[in-house]
Subunit: 236 residues, 2 copies
DNA sequence: GCTCATTTCAAACGAACGTTTGAATCAGGG
DNA sequence: CCCTGATTCAAACGTTCGTTTGAAATGAGC
């Protein structure tokens, strides 16, 4: 099935196997232009491989896209769950704080953004954009990939915030994922909103350090159902 | 330039002028499949008009997309700013609450979702997805359309939260826009997160009533810069 | 050194795309 | 009634798309 050709004795950092070169090029180009607007010819040219290589190694363009996502999303979500388990074991039977749970979500993403020099950041952008893509095969794929992790984290938040009704918590988790993916996608809408310190905008750690307190406060907000109701919003 | 053919005496709800039929069909299909994956042939067939009509009336596919967005986005953002001005005038020289400012952002969006029977909800979904689209012409268009409104609202939040540094506030405004657009886009990721009460998920008013307290609490959170620092996140 | 399965390659496939063209159709004013 | 400008229409334009094909190249095992 898989070929193990040269053991790559000491080639500098160039020309890993064809499959990886396609994945790297596809990751960057999908991130830059989106799925539909990125042609296989663009990808294979950038990767320096033959056009037919994609269909040979991956089967189709859609399967290539899923392979691009799986390669990094799978380990990242596994890391998230492991980190959450570590925190929980360390806390004994006391519930975790929201900040700690959010840290279990963010740290693996940060690790990804830093480890692979450019690849990681490209991937997070790509992931943020995939969230908003209407293509059914993307939506189903993400549901499959995220299902287990989300369930674990919802349970953790549920213990951390016992006074928040389950349904309300589901919504807030949805908002958290929205703000996170929007932020990681790093769209240039930011240029409109802030006066845009470019050197800081690219610093993901600082970015998430700002996002976490924001989200933690939102998660802890009194539930509309528990504080007697009548919020001013939308009643005017 | 524009033709005013029949005054449409009492045609039930069918066959407005060609331009509107194209806009309606395009709005729904762009929402459903995205910009790149929606062909002009699909749009014109759904609208019951000739293929060439798009290029005749709008010039190109890109200009059609911008026309779809402008048609509703323009009035909505104008409504938002007017509502904010109304609230500010009513409050005299006291700063508005975060909830009130958020209401000025949400209510026009809700009005849009309700007024035009199906069109409005389609549009909000489309708008949420356009936020994440990498196409340069979309990004530039949104920057142009949103610039003025964002500036107004940032000023309002700045008065409501004088203890939050300007830069921190810019980030939080970014998070607010992210959560809002993600929520309005209404991706099915939601199906993963919550156990999904379908009849409630489609109720935008309830949805935004949950989102507003969440965001208001996040906006009011102590700034990492002002509370002496050392947050637990990311230090583990 | 031949074998055979794996991988690469140039070339082509049919389909679908956005856009253009030029004639047909229409409505209203002289 | 024809003229004029605006709109619709069928047809075709050239390009690009994802995928397939069949032969050439490759490399490990006997």
């Amino acid at each position: 099935m898989h070929r193990l050709p040269r053991a790559a004795p000491d080639l500098p950092a160039e020309s890993p196997d064809t499959k990886s070169r396609i994945l790297d090029a596809a990751e960057e180009l999908f991130m830059e232009h989106g799925f539909e607007a990125t042609s296989l010819r663009l990808i294979t040219t950038a990767a320096g491989v033959n056009l037919a290589a994609v269909n040979y190694h991956f089967g189709s363009k859609e399967e290539l896209f899923q392979a691009v996502l799986t390669r990094r999303l799978d380990p990242m979500n596994r890391d998230r769950m492991e980190l959450l388990s570590t925190y929980e074991a360390h806390a004994g039977d006391r519930p975790l704080t929201c900040e700690k749970i959010l840290a279990a979500m963010f740290i693996p993403a940060l690790r990804l953004a830093r480890d692979h020099a450019t690849g990681g950041k490209n991937f997070l952008k790509l992931l943020g954009r995939a969230y908003a893509d209407p293509a059914p095969f993307i939506r189903e794929f993400l549901s499959r990939q995220y299902g287990e992790m989300i369930a674990r984290f919802r349970a953790a938040f549920s213990r951390a915030l016992p006074h928040i009704p389950r349904e309300e918590l589901s919504w807030r988790l949805h908002f958290v994922m929205g703000a996170l993916s929007f932020t990681l996608a790093g769209t240039d809408v930011l240029r409109v909103i802030s006066q845009y310190h470019p050197d800081e905008a690219s610093n993901d750690e600082l970015l998430l350090k700002r996002l976490a307190p924001f989200l933690a406060a939102g998660l802890r907000a009194p539930s509309p159902a528990e504080d007697g109701g009548h919020h001013p919003l939308l009643d005017a």
